[in-house]
Subunit: 281 residues, 2 copies
């Protein structure tokens, strides 16, 4: 199954710790061997590293682990190909410019091949369902708003678009304009907010522990969003099925919960992913 | 002065040799210490590395030198800031999607602040004259062609746009859609075509020599485009002032020369760049 990782922070933060565990899922502790990508917003700029080689062995991933880029918004994705060839143009996250700013998007799921929306402003470059969904969402937002609206307006415009897209299949996704981060869960998506007083964390995927109190200031606050929890000694929260949330400055600002929120167990979520063809194992 | 590097090839080629010399100009053999970028087309995909740190000391440049990415179209740029802050969003090359394909653009020059064209489809993210020019060109091409025309049609549409933009100042630029490479010279721009029988080449900026006959096949053909020649034992050709050329498969396919072509000496070109504020030395 493809896996998602997002980070939204109050202050520019180094994602190396979380990425170290996450990267192991690309060909070492899991079977996501079809490439990976990670994009860092830095001010209005965006630095996007893509590789169609397994993340665990990628020199690009090695650079990311060692370079310690600080960012307030990061999106990463490890790919297990379900639709589209394994190639660079099909590697998430995808990037476009809208209203004079960059947007970054990554998706975990599998949309039916009948999802072939017509778009005017944005066209997919590769042949994934994910890039089609990204182009469709940006197109519709641009149609509705000739210039950039508030984040709250965007949230309320995005919510029905997520409902629309997920009629075609599983739509776990992370989207960011470099200021806020939107996360939508169809099935499996978790998050954690780390803030003072900071404690210890230990990665699930590799035997690395960190004492956040030694590398943070009291003003730090960091939200991590990920398909499956990255640490085994912290409390992760699960998004409800069909929930949309907006993160800003490291915390949830807005959330849209279905009337009767449901939560899948990790096993149920993985089973659905497997049946939908998101896991080709 | 900012410096440009482009490579257009018949077969996917490793740019490491040329980049090794070029990268030295970013803070070591020259004063281009305001960041660099390099973009590689790979199939329909695009891998763009940007860094707002000096190229000569950048871990990103180190990765590029050591990773040996093979590509048929590469554009790189080393920046000496003249307009816009030194920041990631102002780092070339710039990337956009047009007609379902990625486009990459880098510029060397300085356009007057009165160059503030209105654009509909593409908006600059940073505040450089270069990104404004890129957005303007893509916008006008998109206006003229609802879907992608032939490269020849694009060449003829691009030529008057270059004339228009260079009324505002120096406009040496390289543009690619991953299939062909367009190069426009206002003042200083050189190229070389390397093909069988291949010989030795020695870099100007660092004492590295290569015997291309040992690392090529008879089918290889590589065009290198650069502000100033990269080697001291090969014959580089200079573009005429105000010339536009299109490269495909490692050779020039089309060129538009002014009626009375003129060529500046390197010293004259540098002097004009200095006066235009392209060199802040």
């Amino acid at each position: 199954m493809c896996q998602l990782l997002g980070m939204n922070c109050h202050l520019p933060t180094d994602i190396s710790f979380s990425f170290s565990g996450f990267a192991k899922r690309g060909g070492q502790t899991d079977h996501h061997t079809d490439g990976f990508g990670i994009g860092f917003f830095e001010g209005r700029g965006l630095r996007l590293f893509l590789d169609d080689h397994p993340c665990a062995q990628s020199p690009v991933a090695e650079l990311v682990r060692n370079y310690h880029i600080k960012s307030k918004n990061v999106i990463s994705h490890i790919r297990k190909a379900t639709q589209g060839r394994t190639s660079l143009e099909n590697t998430h996250p995808f990037q476009r410019e809208l209203w004079g700013g960059y947007w970054l998007f990554a998706h975990n799921g599998n949309l039916k091949s009948t999802f072939q929306p017509k778009t005017y402003y944005y066209q997919p470059v590769g042949n994934t369902d994910s890039e089609r969904a990204f182009c469709y969402i940006l197109d519709r937002l641009r149609e509705q708003f000739p210039s950039k609206p508030s984040h709250v307006e965007l949230f309320h415009a995005l919510q029905p678009l997520c409902v629309e897209v997920q009629q075609y299949g599983m739509f776990n996704m992370i989207l960011s304009d470099g200021e806020v981060m939107y996360a939508h869960a169809s099935t499996l998506l978790h998050y954690i907010v780390r803030e003072a007083p900071f404690g210890h964390a230990h990665l699930v995927d590799t035997d690395i522990e960190i004492d956040f109190s030694k590398v943070t200031t009291p003003d730090d606050r960091v939200a991590i969003i990920t398909t499956l929890p990255l640490t085994d000694n912290e409390t992760w929260h699960q998004f409800a099925c069909n929930e949309l949330a907006m993160f800003q400055d490291g915390k949830i600002i807005l959330r849209h919960l279905p009337d009767n929120p449901t939560y899948l167990t990790i096993e149920e979520g993985l089973e659905i992913a497997r049946k939908a063809g998101v896991c080709r194992e």
